[in-house]
Every structure is written in structure tokens, then in C-alpha cells.
Symmetry: D2
């Protein structure tokens, strides 16, 4: 008996659902008509006061089992879904574009393709220091097989104003000269719109550091530069925020963006930051942009580099960033987390990258 | 012209809104009928599979501007609101009860009323150590005016198994004997259901430490004890979780619960934890349960105790917990954060509590 | 000229260093003599007041370039190192023991060895619900190759007192009966000392949940039980705290402890918690205890399970914990994060575990 | 007998302590001589390789109770203390300067003094929107007694590139014109070095937002501007980092820096960020720079504004920042956290600021 009652009542619910849906779809059509008019007249599509007015009217309607809170909850969902079909076209377009805009051959940094199947190593010292240091390190990197981009900081965003701030323009020239000698593409950090031009002139790829992920003026300016950008996640940034920062660059015209997870700030003291590898899985799912992992800054220690590098590649990272120094104990910055050349070589071997060859060498390594 | 169009279209939206609402209210009535049947038949009120089935049916309906995602979003809100009016009666009842169940005279711990207007100091050493220590500290506390509860740990939840674990039952007896000598009520921590009886026998108030806030078996058992409970927020617990833990005690029959904010774990190293005073404002708003602030554990340092104590009282705290020791540098635990007796006396003076008298002495300090 | 001066001055520094070291070693000998006397006389080895007295004396000595702060810093290091050679024998012993106590064949849960080379799946539904549910899931698990332990909760530590709390003893019996039918060992959570005996009677392995990692009374009691323990990291616990919690169990006599990383609480909303895989690398380095990863609780979503599982194995995890349900949308708890049986099967295939065979079947799968 | 032994042995320790100290002070003298030479010769004062060499020598010395780890620990402390007396003169100077450089009359923003005893309200809408909006809000603010600075954003650092980005230069002009009409000083955010000049031309005080706290190029440039700076703590920044960011401005020549706590990012969802009031107590202790609290961004909700404002003043804040809008529900940004004019007026009354008069009106409110 009960079961019959239940099924009758459920039948009535099913009918009501479809009636409600029909009205909702009609409502959505009217909403789109209004949006079209507003667009023509250049009016703002979002009017919170109009929503408040509608909620007041609804609250004054004859009462029923749903109280004011539930009515508000449901109609907010209706308003939200209506905004979606009007304005979130842009957001949907954003994600779709983020998914679609990377060419199948990956993002090219000179003759190296990032995101094209073969993991790329972004490797070099924390800072440009001396010609000898740069030459020794570049030679060691170039000698190893696999795809590599030479990294070193010329403009250093140091927390302490009395720490070494980088060789600036001299560092850029030294980085370029050394890299050219060994046929390596370069990536280096750009700190500010005022030095963007000079960095873009010397480097093959421009890095936005974790501290600058929210620097919207810099991001906009990078959108207008004809060089690929390496965008690091802020150390307390959500993934949604990272993708919105990427969109500042993409929507200003530069499609060549590589994302970089570099650890987030938590309460755990045994690592400098906490490496967030599920972030890589999520970013790979949400966008088609290549994603690399900066192990040196995430971990801040050398002894667990190899297993963590394995895990980063296993989760799908398109590359690894590693700080390498010929004499880490002499480094002018972050010596404790930089690998020496032997450790670096052992890591490459341990990862099985030493013997790797590019999967499609002709496709991605042609002259440029 | 445009404006007329807009207002016409808006008029149609207003009509559609009311039509939708009417159907929603009818739907809600049917939902409540179903819920009543299920209650009678002792069936589970929540059936996710039924929701999935309805969503599938709706997705198969003739299409319109709203796509599958928006339909899902709106109907999930409808399902959620429907669950609210069925099942969240309990949650609503919970909060209402939490708001209503504290008597106007506050929660009594022997002759001290917590939450009755006058700030109460929960004060004493981290651990019960020796008769001399306990006597010296209790004498100093008792000598100061104002409402005080004597605190000291007999069972210590130490992170390190080789740290001092407390005097256990001997500590309980010493705490009680000392407190009785000076007419002070006592609060001490209970770690586990297996020692709940002996702690309840000796102490006037039972403390649940931050590490035990999620210990549901202990919380349930405390709901059946005829002693007030001091429930500390876990150092990484949301406020919602704290109130749900309180509800474990309240719903099992014990209405005398005092909440305690004691700092949360963040990345900031200059304090042991981060004192969260907006939590106090929120807890005071969400419930009628008294709320106190444990400054010693939140800060882990003595030098900013006074301004932070002022802020805690200003935000509305009903009391402060402070660790005080006659010789902090000799303490068997947490010496660095315990005030010495002079510092404690200066703090009480600085807060203007020294000259305070109970607002309604006859009401809350009668014999018991 | 300057270089000579520098080398002369450096020579003097070298001599002073050795003189200082000689005095330090003599001082250490005296410290050990004192410690021996104290041990004989059963006195406390750590006297902070004595340290304060020494620092006062030193501060009163004739001044030099080092001020009070630097003297304090250096002598605190001396005191600390002195405590090390006295008391930290125990800590050193602790870590050494943690490194040494796991047998080469791993920790056996009936005929499954955890930490013996082959990854073990800890798999089953969040909660024991019905005989049909348990049978369907167990059959599917048993049908797949590889090492598996059947998991399901009978006592559920739910945040909300009105959520489903588990079938308790009935659940234990159902778990055991089902598992025996399919030859699977079982693991289930124990919430409290009061129910430890009954859980230990029914389950092959006892799980300490994240909420109970600091429950020292429970940990001590588990140290006296003759069953392996699965100890989950608290979601706000440092790795040092996790190892200290393990030590509570080990030092009370139970060597069979498996650690479990299950995500930590951060600000990132796209996952339920943040999976911390560098924690696995660090735990494997610091101890010899097996370490597994609970992906279901760390991620709280199914769509990135496969890449994260790959990363967990790549970083060195000895096993994975996964929640699997025959009908996740009907689950009485955590339905959104439980894999259905097809998803589970696909995951096992994707990980390449489907065809895996135990490396040393005779060694670890003998009758018991 | 034992006690005599102990006291003899302790006497020997005391003698050894003083001998060690004597050698340490001699060593420190040599260290300072070396540092002087290096400074003359422009050599780097910190040579990690030299430290490694010394540690190797010490490790090779005849052994004793201290092992290699303890020797390393103690000598690292000696090296560190030696670096302190050489190089940390700068850090010490930094803090001393931070403590000393604020004039007793506070930091003047036109005729309003921040940090001179009377709390200052930094108040206005999130964004400059329209002339009517600005006029209505400014009129309401000007009508209330007490010290006020008019705030509104012209350049908005929005997370989403499609959110309203501010009226930019038009907004600056409207802000200034409105403020002048009502005799209010202004503060507004500067996002980047490229727009620094134009912002500095129009505003009385320049705000560095939380997202820009690590933007060292902007901080350096602000050090050369003749306007006071309001420096907000990054929502993931430690207090040490905040003070180092302040030092970037101070050390480049601008002494007029006001610090602003605005909430940190934690796991608690009931507030937008977590208000960190112990930070205010610590900043007031560590520096003499004025400290204000941005309640709107810290809390993200209006209902607990009053108790939290009381707490902020009680802990020692020199001012409060509050977002106020004439029609919050119409605001182009952050409507949900902006007070309306009635709420703002009630807050000022609730804080007892409504009737407040400047403590030294002639001293701090003279013409400029």
C-alpha cells in the first residue's frame, strides 16, 4: 500500500519537475532576449539590484513549505545559471580556449618543445653569478641527452632588501652568451613591466615568479610579448587563481603559456614548501597548457629529489625545473637546495632520461 | 524604446518567477508527504539514486537555452532545499538549541558562572607537578579578585611519548586538594573514555583538548556526565566542526558546554599558533554557548599577552585561559609560554580585572 | 699583502677553533659524569634553571665583540648538544629502531605482506552497509590479481553527530564473514580504547584514523595488541608528529606499524585535502616502516585518481588505499569519492597491477 | 656525598664555560678584523666554503663525547653568531631604524596623523565608480567626527581578467576632486611602476595591495616617492616578510610607511580570510611604524564587524580600514563585504569614535 502511495507521489513529482523545467527554459529565453538588448545598448549585463527586487517579490508571494531561505537558495541558483548562459560564455570560452590553443607540437622555446610528449628539464643555477660558473654548468647540462632549457636568474626577487639582487642586465647578457655557446634555449625571470623589454630582448622564455603571479599589470604586458611565458603558481594561490592569471596573458594575445607548480605554503617544516602533485593532475585535466614542476623550490632539499621527480613525471608533468650549481656551497643564493653537477647527472640517470630521445625529433627540432 | 522592451521582458520574467514558485511550493508539499510516509515506514529519507533518476529524466526533456549543467545546478538546489525542509529540521533544531540552552546565569562551575557577564580566568600551571608548586600558584590566584577556575593537567596528551605524561590519578587528587583549600573550582583534561570516570570524580569541569575535538566516542561519553565540559577547538578545525563536536555532547544530554578558541595552525612562525579572534565573534553569533580564549597555547609567548587579552575580551570572550607557574623555567612542560606569578598579577591589573566584582554576586555565587 | 693578512688571521681562527673544541670535549665529559650520577640517584637530567644560572654568569663575564644575544645563542647550542649526548640517546634509538624493526619480508596481514616490494591495495567501501553490498564488492576485489586487503568501516568517526555512525559490532562481524568467504585479510578503524578489544577480535589489522592520530591513550593500548596497525597521518599533523605517534605504538611493544598519508588541510578547494607525496619520500627515508597513500580521502574526487595513483607508486608508496563501492551514489557515507567497480578495475589495469604477481609468493603467502 | 660531587663537577663546568667564552670572544675579534679587511678590499663577507673547510678540520680532530653532529651544531652556532656581529649590523640597524624613524606626531597624510594616538578610519568604497556614488559616500564620511582618510580603488588588481578593472586615471581624478570638496585626504592603490607617477600625482597616500607585497621593484620605486605608503601584508606573508618589504621602501629613502594587517589565507571558510590580531601586537612590538587593520578584506562579511573592530583597537591598531558603499548591492566589486552608510554610522557609534575628538588637534591638524 505504502509503495503505491510512494510511487503515485513520485509520479506527481516527475510531472512537476518537467513543468518547472518548461517554465525555466522559457525564462531563460527571455533572459537571453534581455541580454541581447543590453549588449546592443552597451548596458551592464549584471544587475544585483534587480535580483534583490525579484527576491523581495518572491518572498511576498503566498507561503508554502519552502521558507524564505529555501526560495532564496533556489532562485539564486536560477539567477546564477542565467548569468552562466549570458556571461559565462566568456569563462567557458576561456577554458575551451585554454584547452584548445596549445599546438599539438607543444610550445616551442627555440628548438625545444614543451608539452609535446618528451619531458623537458628547466635547469641551471638559481642566479647568474660569474662567467666561469655559467660556463661550467652550461657545459655539463649540454653534455647530457634530452631536452633542456637553461635557467638562471638575472633579476632576483629577494625577500630581504640586503640579499643579493642579481646582476640584472649584465646577468642577462651573460646568460644569453653562455647559452648560445652551448646551443641551449634560455628562461629567466622578469620582475616588472619596467624591465620587461630588456628581459624579452635577451631571453627565449620569460618567467613569472611565484611572488608575481597576481601582478596583473605584468601579466597583461606579457600578453603582448612574442615570447613564451613560464607562469609559476603563487605559493598560496588556488588553481583557479593560477588559471585566471594565465588567462590575463592568453586573453592579451600570447598563447604560449607554460604553467609551473612549485609548492604551496603549509605548516609542514620538513620541506620548504609542500609539493602539490594533484595540482598537476588537475591542471592537465582543466587545460591543454603544459605543466612543469619546480622541485627545487617545492622541496628546498636535495635528498628526496629523485623519488619526487619520478612522481612528478608519473602524474603527468611535461617537465621539471631543477636548480643546479657547480659549487652549491658557494652559491650566492639558495645554495642548500641546488644540486651539484654529479647529483644532477645521477638524477637524470635515475629518471631514465639520460638515454631518452625526442619522440618526434623532426617535428619539434627543426631549424627556426 | 529599448527601455519599454526591457520593462516588458522583465514583466514576463516576474510572472514566470511566480509561476515557478507556485510549482515549487506544490512540489515541496508532495515531498513532505513522501517524507511522512517514509518516517512511518522507517525508510531512509535520503535517496541519491532517486535524484539521479530525476536528473536523467530532466536531461532527456526537450532542450532550451539551459543546458544539462545549468539544469543540474538548478535542480540540485531544489533537491537540496527539499532535503532542508525534511531533514535539516534537525540541524536547525541543533543550532536553535545551541542558542537557547544556556541559562541566563551562565554555566556554573561550582560557584563560578561562565558566560554570565563577568570574564572568568581559567588559570594555573600546564601540569600538576608538586604539592609546593600547586600550593604556591593556587594561593596567588586565590588572592586576586575576580572569577577564577583553577586549571592544571594530570593526564597530559604529549606529542612525544618520552615527554612527561602527567601524574595521572595522583595529579587529580593533588589538584582537588589544593583547589579545595583555596576555594577554587577546577578544570582538567580528560584524555579518554577509560579514564573519564576518575577524572569526573575529582574535577569540577572536564576539558576536551584540541587533539581530542574529533574524538567522538569521548564526546558522546561526556554527554552523559553531570559535569560542565570545556571543549577546545582543534588546531585545524573549522568552526562548523567545533559546533558539531559540541553537538555530540549536547545531544547526548549534557547542556553545560563552554567553547574554547586556542589558535589554529598556519604558516606564521612568530607565534605558536595563530590566534583567531573572529572565531569568537562568529561563535558568539551562532550559539549561546560561552566562549573563552586560551591565550597561552594560541600565542606560545608571553610578551604580547596583555594586548591580545584585551582584544579577546573586546571581541566578546567570556573568559581567558592562561598558564601560570611559580617558576616557569622549571616547569615540566611548556615553560616558555607560562606566565610567572608577577607577570600574571600585572596582566590582571592591566586588564582592569583586579578591581572587578561579580555583577550579580547573589545570583551566581550562592552556596551549592 | 691583504691575502697574507687574511691567511694569518685565518690561521689564528683555526687554532682557536681547535682550542675551543678541546674545551668543549672536556666539558662534555663532565656533563656525562653528572648524568651518570643523576641516573644513579634517580634525579631529573634536565634542569632549565641550571642553564639559566650559567647564562647569567656568562653574561656577567668581561665583554667582547659577542653581545649577550650571541653568547646565549652559542651556549644554547652547547647545552642542546649536551642534552643530545645524554638524553637523545632515546630519540636516536627511536629512529634507529623505527628504521630497523621491520622484517625484510614486510609486515604481514594474514597472508599479505605490506612493505615487501609488491604494492598492496587497501580497498573496499567507506562503510559496512549490507550483506549484499559487502559480498558484491568483496567478490570483485578478490577476482582481481595482486595483493589486497579488504577495508570497510564499522565504527565511523563522523563529524556530524546525525550522520550515519556505522553498524558497529554487527559491521565487524559482517566484514569478517565476507572477507573470510573470499580469502581477504581485513582492516577496519578502531575509535577508542573501549571498543579496542572487540575490533581486535574481528579484524586482521587495526586502523587509527586521522582524527585519532594524537589520541595517545589509544596509541598506547594498540602498542599492547598483537595485530598490525595502520596509522593515518592527521590532516593537520607534521611528519615529526606522525613518527612520534608511531613511536607510542612501537615503544609499547607492537612493531607492526604501517603509516598512511591521506592529505593535509590547506586552502586549495579543488581537492578535499592536499595530497602530500613528498611526505612519502621523507617517511621512507626516515623510517623503515611501510608507507601507503589513501587517495580517496586525500583527493575526494575520482577523476584524477589514476595519475595520482601512478605518482604515489612512483614516489615509493608500499600500497594504496581506495574506497570502492558497488553503487557509490547509494553509499551511506562519502559516495562522491568512492570508485564504482568498473572504475576500480580500470584503475588497477591502468596502474599495470592487474597482471602483477607477488614477487616472492612462497615467502610471503604461506599458510598461517 | 652525591651533592658534593655534583657541585664539584658543576664548578668545573662553570670554569670551562668561562674559558670557552674567553676563546670565543678572542675568535670574534679576529673575525671582525677579517671583516674589516674584506670590506676594504670589497670582498664578499660570507664564504660558505671556508665554513665547510673549518668543519672538516674540526671533524678530523681527536674525538670525545661530542660526535660530528654535535660539533657541527655548536660550530654552526658560532659561525652564525659571527655572521651576526659582522653583517647583521645591517639587520639590527634595520629594526632599530624601523623602531626609531616614525616621528612622535605620527605619519601625516595631509592634515591627518596616523599613529599619533587617535585611531584613523581609512574608509570609502572598494572602487571609484560614479560621481554620484563618490559624492554621497564622501559626504557621509565627512559628516562624522574623528580622523578619516578617503579610500577608493582606481586601479583594481582583480583575480579575474574579465572582472571590472577600475576607472584608472579617470578614477584618480574623480577621487581627488571628491575628496578635496569634503576636505578629506585620499589613499588609493598603485599596481605597478608604470603607473606610479600618475597615482602619486593624484593621491595623498599610496597603497600597496596584498598581492604586491613581494613586488620588490614597486617597493623600491615607492622608496623614492615623497608620499606616505600604506603597505598591506600579503595574505600568505609571514610578519618577517612584511617587515622586509617595508624595509625595501624605508631603505630607499621613504620613512612614511604604515603597515596593514588584512587577514591571512587559512582553511576556515566562514570568513574570507582569517583576521590575525596577534600580528598587530607583534608588529607594534617589533617596529614603531603605525599598524592598521583592514576589516573588510580580513572578514569578508559585515555581521561581525563591530566586535572585531573593537578587538582591533584593543590590541593596539592605529586605525581601521573599512569598505563603505552607498548601495553595496550595486557595487561593481566586493558588494557583499561593504557596509552601507547606516551600518557604517552605527559602527562608528558602536566603537565610541563618533564623539571622539583628536587628542592634540593643534599639533596634528595644522594647515599644510
Amino acid at each position: 500500500m505504502t509503495q503505491r502511495w510512494l510511487s503515485d507521489l513520485r509520479g506527481e513529482i516527475d510531472t512537476l519537475n518537467l513543468d518547472i523545467l518548461r517554465l525555466l527554459q522559457r525564462r531563460a529565453e527571455v533572459v537571453l532576449e534581455i541580454a541581447a538588448i543590453k549588449r546592443r545598448e552597451n548596458l551592464d549585463s549584471y544587475e544585483p539590484s534587480r535580483e534583490e527586487e525579484m527576491l523581495r517579490t518572491l518572498a511576498a508571494a503566498p507561503s508554502g513549505p519552502f521558507g524564505a531561505d529555501e526560495i532564496r537558495e533556489i532562485f539564486r541558483a536560477i539567477f546564477h545559471a542565467s548569468l552562466d548562459i549570458q556571461n559565462r560564455e566568456r569563462t567557458r570560452a576561456m577554458r575551451t580556449r585554454q584547452r584548445g590553443l596549445v599546438p599539438p607540437g607543444g610550445i616551442r622555446v627555440r628548438d625545444v618543445a614543451v608539452g609535446a610528449g618528451q619531458p623537458v628539464l628547466f635547469v641551471g643555477p638559481c642566479s647568474v653569478e660569474t662567467p666561469q660558473q655559467m660556463d661550467t654548468i652550461a657545459a655539463a647540462i649540454a653534455a647530457l641527452p634530452g631536452a633542456k632549457i637553461f635557467r638562471a636568474g638575472a633579476y632576483k626577487p629577494r625577500t630581504n632588501p640586503y640579499s643579493f639582487q642579481g646582476l640584472r642586465e649584465d646577468g642577462l647578457q651573460l646568460l644569453r652568451a653562455t647559452a648560445r655557446r652551448y646551443g641551449l634555449p634560455t628562461v629567466t625571470e622578469v620582475l616588472d613591466t619596467s624591465t620587461l623589454d630588456v628581459v624579452a630582448e635577451h631571453a627565449d622564455m620569460l618567467q613569472v615568479g611565484a611572488r608575481n603571479m597576481y601582478n596583473t599589470e605584468l601579466l597583461k604586458a606579457l600578453g603582448k610579448v612574442d615570447k613564451p611565458v613560464l607562469l609559476k603558481r603563487g605559493f598560496m594561490a588556488t588553481l583557479d587563481e593560477l588559471l585566471l592569471s594565465a588567462e590575463y596573458i592568453l586573453s592579451n594575445g600570447n598563447d604560449a603559456v607554460v604553467l609551473c607548480e612549485r609548492g604551496i605554503r603549509t605548516f609542514e617544516p620538513w620541506t620548504r614548501n609542500t609539493l602539490d602533485l594533484s595540482a598537476v593532475a588537475l591542471l592537465k585535466k582543466e587545460t591543454a597548457l603544459p605543466v612543469i614542476v619546480d622541485l627545487s623550490h617545492a622541496l628546498g632539499r636535495r635528498d628526496i629529489m629523485l623519488p619526487c621527480a619520478r612522481a612528478a613525471l608519473a602524474v603527468g608533468a611535461d617537465g621539471l625545473m631543477l636548480e643546479v650549481h657547480d659549487r652549491p656551497e658557494h652559491a650566492l643564493s639558495d645554495g642548500f637546495q641546488q644540486l651539484d653537477l654529479d647529483e644532477f647527472s645521477a638524477l637524470v640517470t635515475g629518471l631514465g632520461l639520460a638515454g631518452a630521445t625526442a619522440p618526434h625529433p623532426t617535428a619539434i627540432r627543426g631549424p627556426r
